[in-house]
């Protein structure tokens, strides 16, 4: 019997234990009282972050063969794990005041959020299909429940049901795809699958293509790219806003991390087959996502469609060679995660007595009541647009450069054109905040200290990446190099 080295799983184990502790805090808090969920959650996430950094800086990292080869701790996994833990830290900070404002503070909420993080941490580190599926389900099941956690709102229930059904549907596609690839290679490990089929003249080529296609559909649902995006607007709109923030940031990072690993290593030899498919998905997502966003009257729905279009931008880079696309995608994900936390977090931080800003009109005159928040919101929107001095500009530059370098120039052109279109609906928010008159009574709450802290960190990340991208780019480069 070989001893199993659990080191690559340490961050996930720490977070899982924290989740159980938080759950017990609720049990011991006494009737009608709340335990110290937030400090414990933050401490656990910080400890996991520390563990990730320590694994990254240790000499013997134990690549590959440990934990039965199910998890790796390479640069890609560690970097994305750190990003996910950062996202979770900010999401917990945002949640604490939002849950109080909506009268739905409960230990389970934090526990489920932490469990979802466990799934995400697994998802970016797996090298084997069964583990990938289990990690994906841990992440998703926790999120289904979180979406429905506002019992007083029928929209929240609707979003949970919709997310659950489409999620279960997409998992079936993913499983079917995994089964097809297993049928060809006789293995669930990405490395073996990759070496099982290399040439197009192989008689099994057709089956592999079917498997790859089904995998792409399954991932397509998770990252919400057209035509697998139908759930996104309703779910993003109906879910509690801090859950939306966490979901929009965390799931994108985790799912694209898994996508990079599966398609960049296991299925890299078949790139000529799946590249055109990815390019088609990218074009549809960029065009339809942006056009649909134009027509929205709810800010959350507009941001949901915007997230569909950003999935398109990210997919556009995926057509490049694995390492080139990985570098661009990883860099973009960091800034994008911060922006998503920021936009949805800004909306959530205004919640009071179970109400929060939903439509554009609700944000009218925000600059007078909340000048700092309005300025922060503007920074996030500018980054979503891709204006210089923001993370979005540098990120989009690398994404589209990757697409052009791979010979898919039209993708980059569509991306740039659609970014221009997107300026209309992003600027609409700014116009409402700065140029419209505020309603007479001030309905929105003052921003709490914890929310302000989370938003400040997001702003710093967005501007920092825009002005001084070299540091994170170097990390993204190292992470991309660790792809086989």
């Amino acid at each position: 019997m070989n001893a199993v080295d659990l080191r690559p799983a340490y961050p996930a184990i720490i977070v899982a234990v924290t989740a159980v502790v938080v759950l017990l805090l609720q049990a011991f808090a006494g009737k009608g009282k709340h335990g110290p969920y937030v400090p414990f959650s933050l401490a656990g996430l910080a400890a996991a972050f520390l563990a990730t950094v320590m694994i990254a800086s240790s000499q013997e990292r134990g690549l590959g063969s440990h934990t039965g080869g199910a998890l790796v701790a390479d640069e890609l996994a560690l970097f994305l794990e750190a990003v996910i833990l950062g996202v979770a830290l900010l999401a917990v900070l945002l949640s604490s005041s939002y849950l109080r404002a909506t009268n739905s503070e409960r230990g389970e909420h934090y526990a489920l959020l932490l469990f979802s993080v466990v799934g995400m941490l697994g998802l970016v580190a797996v090298t084997e299909m069964i583990s990938l599926f289990v990690a994906l389900e841990i992440m998703s099941v926790a999120l289904y429940a979180l979406c429905g956690s506002r019992r007083d709102q029928v929209e929240s229930q609707e979003s949970a049901v919709k997310y659950f059904i489409t999620g279960a549907f997409s998992s079936a596609f993913l499983l079917f795809g995994i089964a097809m690839l297993y049928g060809v290679s006789g293995s669930t490990s990405l490395g073996r699958i990759g070496s099982a089929v290399t040439s197009a003249s192989d008689p099994n080529h057709g089956l592999v293509l079917l498997g790859v296609g089904l995998l792409l559909v399954g991932f397509g649902f998770k990252i919400a790219c057209v035509p697998f995006h139908m759930w996104a607007p309703d779910v993003y709109e109906g879910a509690p806003t801090t859950v939306t923030a966490f979901m929009a940031a965390g799931v994108k990072v985790a799912a694209f991390g898994a996508l990079l690993r599966v398609f960049g290593t296991g299925l890299a030899s078949l790139a000529d087959d799946w590249r055109p498919l990815v390019a088609i998905l990218a074009v549809f997502s960029m065009v339809l996502g942006n056009l649909a966003a134009l027509a929205q009257s709810s800010v959350k729905r507009m941001l949901a469609y915007s997230s569909v279009s950003h999935a398109g931008y990210l997919l556009a880079a995926l057509v490049a060679a694995p390492r080139v696309s990985a570098e661009a995608v990883i860099f973009y994900l960091v800034g994008y995660a911060a922006v998503n936390l920021g936009t949805f977090g800004a909306l959530s931080s205004l919640a009071r007595d179970g109400r929060e800003p939903v439509t554009f009109d609700h944000l009218s005159g925000l600059s007078r009541r909340h000048p700092v928040l309005a300025a922060a919101f503007t920074v996030f929107l500018i980054s979503l647009m891709g204006v210089p001095v923001s993370a979005g500009f540098v990120g989009k530059f690398y994404l589209f450069t990757a697409a052009v370098g791979a010979g898919y120039t039209p993708l980059a052109i569509v991306g740039v054109l659609m970014s221009v279109v997107s300026a209309y609906y992003y600027l609409r928010v700014v116009v409402h905040m700065y140029m419209k008159d505020a309603p007479v009574e001030d309905a929105w709450a003052p921003v709490s200290t914890t929310s302000a802290l989370a938003l400040a960190v997001s702003v710093l990340v967005v501007l920092g990446l825009g002005i001084w991208p070299a540091g994170v780019l170097a990390l993204a480069h190292a992470a991309a190099q660790s792809l086989l």
């Binding site: 934990t67 389970e108 599926f133 289904y144 099982a196």
Partner: protein
């Protein structure tokens, strides 16, 4: 090509599975669907058995027939609204659905015959549990343990969703 006894058994189980699955989808009463599902699960268990996967066949019967289906039936029978519910099974979008389904069937059938499937040694191990146990405790230890986290998450999530909201 010889038609052997096991081919006949396979066809019988396959017919049970597919036939009852059709009833599950088309039945107008939820209770009929649930009962038809019993035969679908049974047929699938038979197919597993035929492939020499005795443990999976037994688990299929225990968990799906013995657990999930019974729960489903109780749920339907104890809920008046569901019991009397007249399910709408009108056909919408028939043409596109038929085209997609037929296309997928052809693709799967063609690929099924053309592929050289990765087939293990001729016979299944006589005691499959032995092999499964070693895989769970060795190669697949991590996903096996992680599955328990998944179950815990599902439990907590379900408890959170059904819990009555406290009077504020």
């Amino acid at each position: 090509m010889h038609f052997t006894a096991s081919d006949g058994v396979f066809l019988a189980f396959a017919a049970i599975t597919v036939g009852s699955a059709v009833v599950v989808t088309l039945a107008r009463s939820l209770i009929y669907s649930a009962f038809a599902l019993l035969f679908t699960f049974f047929g699938v268990a038979g197919l597993y058995l035929l492939l020499g996967a005795d443990f999976i066949a037994a688990s299929q019967l225990l968990i799906y027939v013995g657990g999930i289906l019974v729960l489903l039936l109780f749920g339907v029978m104890l809920t008046h609204k569901l019991y009397d519910l007249d399910l709408k099974s009108e056909v919408t979008q028939f043409a596109p659905a038929a085209i997609v389904a037929a296309g997928l069937f052809v693709v799967l059938a063609v690929l099924g015959f053309r592929t050289t499937w990765k087939i293990g040694p001729g016979r299944a191990p006589s005691a499959t549990t032995d092999e499964i146990g070693h895989l769970f405790m060795g190669q697949y230890l991590l996903p096996f343990e992680a599955a328990s986290v998944l179950l815990l998450v599902a439990l907590i999530g379900a408890a959170m969703i059904v819990r009555r909201k406290k009077e504020a």
